[in-house]
Amino acid sequence: MRQLRPKRDTWGSRLGIIMAVAGSALGLGNFLRFPVQAAGNGGGAFMIPYFVSLLLLGIPLMWIEWTLGRFGGGFEHGTAPGIFHSIWQKNRFIKYFGVIGIFGPFVIFIYYTFIESWTLAYSYYSLRGILTSLPDQGALQSFLKGFQGLEKNAFFSGLGPAYIFFLITFFINMTVISYGIRGGIEALCKIAMPILLVLGVVLVIRVLTLGTPDPARPDWNLANGLGFLWNPDLSALKSAKVWLAAAGQIFFTLSVGIGVILTYASYLSKGDDVVLSGLTAVSMNEFAEVVLGGCIIIPAAFVFFGPAQIQSIARQGAFDLGFVTMPLVLGKIPLAAFFSFIWFALLFLAGVTSSVSLAQPAVAFMEDEFSIDRKKAVGIFAAAAFILSQPAIFWLGRGVVNELDFWGGTFCLVLFGTVEAILFAWVFGIDKAWEEIHHGADMAVPRVYKFIIKYVTPLFLLVVLGAWFIQEGLPTIFLEGVREADRPFVFGTRIGLVLLFATLALLVRVAWKKRTRQAKR
């Protein structure tokens, strides 16, 4: 007897998918990466290339992914192999390229969950008053390194506490996705996203009311703090590096090019709007980034550390900024523990709404292409992801996470985004694509976007891909800056990634052969 395919999940409401896509996009980067990128690339002037990239790259790609996802979902394909195949059926190989849309999210998930668990742990340590009682940067850095298992010190003798928080976080993620799109992801995001935004607004109000904490240093004030980030240096616009930084920031902040938006949109019906919904998700992400992210960490650090130290603070990595500098800053204000808790709770909510989206493509692939029921698919994914997460946890200091982030979180995104833009405009064809975008649309896309999607976005992406590859891709591939002792770990990670990709490609081949056999019967 032929096995009946379980009915595909659907979103319960328009707000549900908007919250989910916004949740997927919103992450640590909105609060940590954006302010640093802006401050280091012309300040307020950065907003010019930023908004240009938003209009020519970010919004078009968002519409492209929503449309492609909904289109593929009509053929019961929720992941890129099937979606790309449904656009270009004559090409036997495009579905293998689509494997990136499962591989990328999977690779990011396996280290992202560990980082997300740090925010949960730090929320707990904040509530206990431990974090904000640490006196200086050195103490907070030791605390972080001890917690991460990078060193044994007075705070932590091993990875025990971090591992417990990882298990809790992993369990939360698996529980959410086991309830599916409507009962799990949508339910989570409809609660988490409003709370996250409220917490962000509370922090912004707290920062904007800091005034001048130290009367002996009147120029260490909030207005100057904002000025450090927002005063424009228009000469920066002459630099290609600044334009590339803006394009990169837009790309990464909207989480386009990963494959998760394709999967989320595949659960829409043909008559569901993608134009207004996609734009709304963008607006939510941009609110968190520009309005909230642009008004928290840099101005707050400025009023307590001043113009001399802010330069080195702004050059810190995202982790030091979020887990060292911010608790130090919050430790200097009344109700320190409370505000520190809010900061890390905000980051945790931003993280968990992103990590569940990263898990969904692999689960959707098993459900759609192998007719595996959801609970079993989640079980298989959980087992694989759990095992593959271990190197990121135990070999954090050996370059494993950096390597995973490079291939899964950077290289794949830019490449995948470029190809899907070209597929949409040139293989699917811009006329058919234009019609497809407008099915069920609640607003018309401005006509100029037909030209932008066909010519400007793909060209912009090719330039970004090329420049990024030369500036960052090649040095990373050739192990620039990697210590000798860490090279085996980096190579090991690469071998693991190749094996993972090959496994997924093989599964695609098996799935397609199965489909062909079933079609013949």
Partner: protein, 34 residues
């Protein structure tokens, strides 16, 4: 913050908040998809 800084800050906030208001207003005047 300089005057130019306030201008860039204000315009950026206005653009983002304006986009958000535009989108959510249009949504709440349309029916839900289900």
């Amino acid at each position: 913050m300089t005057l130019a800084g306030w201008i860039f800050f204000g315009l950026s906030w206005a653009a983002i908040l304006g986009l958000g208001v535009f989108c959510f207003t249009k949504i709440f005047f349309k029916k839900e998809i289900r």
